[in-house]
């Protein structure tokens, strides 16, 4: 299985008045064809900027560097903005968090769907319309033909997100980046949208990079997980490995925050991770989680912690050896 997206050592720097902000600091991962990678982390950990950096849609002031950034084997770093625009919406597409504001209020759904197809394919308007109707039906919108003439304000949030998904699929992309696609939706709609994404992914055999802060979503749809904290990946592995035996104290903390049906008793305190994400100025000089970590020791603040690989595609970023991490988790679960 070849990787559709390869990212190695991705950094984003934003110069501001008081120094340089580094919200993404050396992130590496792969997305494979037909698989879903979930990037998990709390607000401000650099998830969204990572996805915008891949699409080359960062704010103007932000600077992107990477050891490697390749889509289906083709380098994305050397290409100019013109060539990037040829890929966006074509080979790689993005679904955003806010369906309410992500569609242009002045144009019909049909116009906005067709425009992506007409931009990247040599097609007539009729062909583009046919494709739009086909995909609207695929994403579960009934009476697709008449929906094309509607404006965004005439649709509910769930419908708009379905339209956004159809729009991302217009050119049959290899990679879909979905940045918290269900956060703004009702819980019942969330499940429908996730189910839809998963079935479309199987049908069109795409790579999906799903950004979320919701571990429940991760458990349901991910093949692989990358946990991000303060601009770094602190743990990565298959969804089974990470949920069954989380190694990094941050991952362990995150998992304790979700109630488990049948196990968490009524009135019992859910876990929480005290403290806040540190400001991301300059280079890392220590473990960025040290100030919130229950197992912090002098070694944690002495130097930056490297990502340690264990096995082919499992890695974690902690000074403790694997056995100690596993023991910590076992103690925490028992308590």
């Amino acid at each position: 299985m070849s990787a559709i997206l390869e990212v190695r050592d991705l950094r984003v720097e934003i110069p501001i008045a008081t120094g340089t902000l580094v919200p993404v600091r050396g992130v590496s991962f792969q997305v494979e064809r037909g698989k879903t990678l979930c990037i998990v982390g709390e607000s401000g950990c650099g998830k969204s900027l990572t996805s915008l950096a891949i699409m080359n849609l960062l704010p103007k002031r932000a600077k992107r560097t990477a050891g490697q950034l390749a889509l289906a084997g083709a380098d994305l770093q050397g290409v100019d903005e013109r060539a990037m625009a040829d890929l966006r919406g074509n080979k790689m597409a993005m679904i955003f968090q806010e369906p309410m504001t992500s569609l242009n209020p002045a144009y019909t759904i049909g116009n906005q769907l067709e425009e992506a197809y007409l931009r990247h394919r040599r097609a007539t308007r009729a062909e583009a319309r046919e494709r739009a109707v086909y995909l609207l039906e695929k994403v579960g919108i009934t009476a697709a033909g008449s929906r094309l003439r509607q404006y965004p304000h005439q649709l509910s949030g769930g419908l708009r997100q379905r339209v956004m998904i159809a729009m991302a699929l217009m050119c049959g992309p290899d990679l879909i980046i979905a940045d918290e696609p269900t956060t703004a939706l009702d819980v019942t709609i969330q499940a429908q949208i996730l189910h839809l994404l998963a079935s479309l992914q199987r049908e069109f055999h795409m790579g999906v990079m799903l950004i979320t802060h919701d571990l429940g979503i991760v458990a349901r749809v991910a093949d692989r997980v990358a946990v991000m904290y303060a601009g770094e990946i602190v743990e990565t592995g298959t969804v089974h490995e990470v949920f069954a035996s989380p190694l990094h104290p941050y991952t362990q903390g995150l998992l304790r925050c979700i109630p488990v049906p049948g196990k968490t008793r009524r009135g019992e305190h859910l876990g929480s991770i005290p403290g806040v994400v540190p400001a991301l100025f300059g280079e890392a000089t220590q473990c960025s989680f040290a100030n919130r970590c229950p197992h912090a020791m002098p070694a944690c603040t002495a130097a930056p912690i490297p990502l340690t690989a264990i096995g082919a595609d499992r890695a974690y970023r902690c000074v403790l050896p694997v056995e100690a991490c596993v023991a910590n988790q076992a103690r925490a679960v028992a308590a």
Binding site: M55, L57, A85, D86, L87, R88, G89, N90, A93, M94, F96, E98, T101, S102, L103, N104, P105, A106, Y107, T108, E115, A116, R119, H120, Y151, H153, M164, M167
Partner: protein, 305 residues
């Protein structure tokens, strides 16, 4: 869209009716029509005779409905001073004023929208600062002074443009600039603010994520939404321009409606003044209506309201 248009149209008719009533009352309160008609040297008996002959002794509401009835069929009476039908006078003068207003508005929009877009693309850049200075200057300069300065520079010193009359299109260049320049700052600031806001919106990010080319993103997705408030303002400004043409037409001796208004007011020519006020308010109302409809076309969310 049809229901929306009809509703707007009905509202516009009511406004015209109100304006005509107020105009009628105000002119009759300000000037005694019989005295104005009789002239300064007339005796009290002459004035009384005229009052009876022209029906000015009837109650005001009766006179108003009488006048309104004739106005509805385009009959505005006869000019007291010029002894010619008001409708003919207006029709003669109207093309000049309309051309002036249209040229002024076109000048203002063609200058301010591109400037506003460029300023919005690079906020706080040199272009933005120059545009800002222009707009401050535009709002600070009195129209008549700006017009006179232009006459001195382009008419007297450089001799590029004619300074009075309305024979060729060249005669309209300076009046249109003088009249239009005043509206430019507001258009430009509104375009700039609208573009900055729209360019930061989520749907612009979506458009870029689709791989659309920068001109498509800028003109199709951004400008369309950014100019919606400019359209409303343009209609209002066009009404102001018709009013402002009184000053400009007098300066440049353009024989339009504005010049006629100035002449008639100074000579207490009531039928002409009433007709002109009604005409200009009618324009104002039609323009506002057009702006509403154009807005509804540009912004589909308005149509359902």
């Amino acid at each position: 869209m049809l229901v929306y248009s009809l509703k707007r149209l009905l509202l516009a008719c009511l406004v015209v009716l109100t304006v005509s009533g107020i105009t009628f009352i105000l002119t009759n309160a300000a000037i005694d029509p019989a005295k104005a008609l009789a002239g300064d040297s007339a005796s009290a008996a002459d004035i009384d005779a005229i009052r009876k002959a022209y029906g000015f002794d009837r109650p005001l509401p009766v006179q108003y409905f009488d006048w309104l009835g004739s106005a509805l069929i385009g009959e505005f009476g006869e000019s007291v001073r010029m002894r010619r039908p008001v409708a003919t006078l207006l029709l003669e003068r109207l093309p000049v004023t309309m051309s002036l207003g249209a040229c002024a508005l076109a000048f203002a929009l063609l200058l301010s929208i591109p400037l506003g877009v460029v300023a919005a693309l690079k906020p706080n850049s040199a272009v933005d600062r120059v545009a800002l200075s222009l707009s401050v200057l535009g709002q600070a300069l009195p129209t008549f002074w700006f017009a006179l300065m232009m006459i001195i520079l382009f008419g007297v010193i450089l001799r590029w443009l004619p300074i009075s009359g309305s024979d060729t299109w060249l005669h309209f260049v300076m009046p249109a600039i003088a009249l239009g320049y005043y509206a430019t700052p507001a258009f430009m600031r509104l375009t700039r603010a609208g573009m900055i806001e729209v360019l930061a919106s989520d749907y612009i990010r979506t458009a870029r994520a689709k791989g659309l080319r920068p001109p498509t993103v800028l003109f199709k997705h951004a400008l369309r939404n950014a100019v919606i408030p400019v359209v409303s303002l343009a209609a209002v400004q066009f009404g102001f321009m018709l009013g402002g043409s009184v000053v400009i037409e007098t300066i440049f001796a353009l024989h339009g409606v504005g010049f006629l208004a100035w002449e008639s007011i100074s000579r207490s020519d009531i039928p002409v003044v009433q007709a002109i006020v009604l005409l200009i308010s009618l324009f104002y109302i039609v323009l506002t209506l057009l702006a509403d409809l154009l807005n509804a076309y540009l912004d589909p969310r308005i149509r359902v309201a």
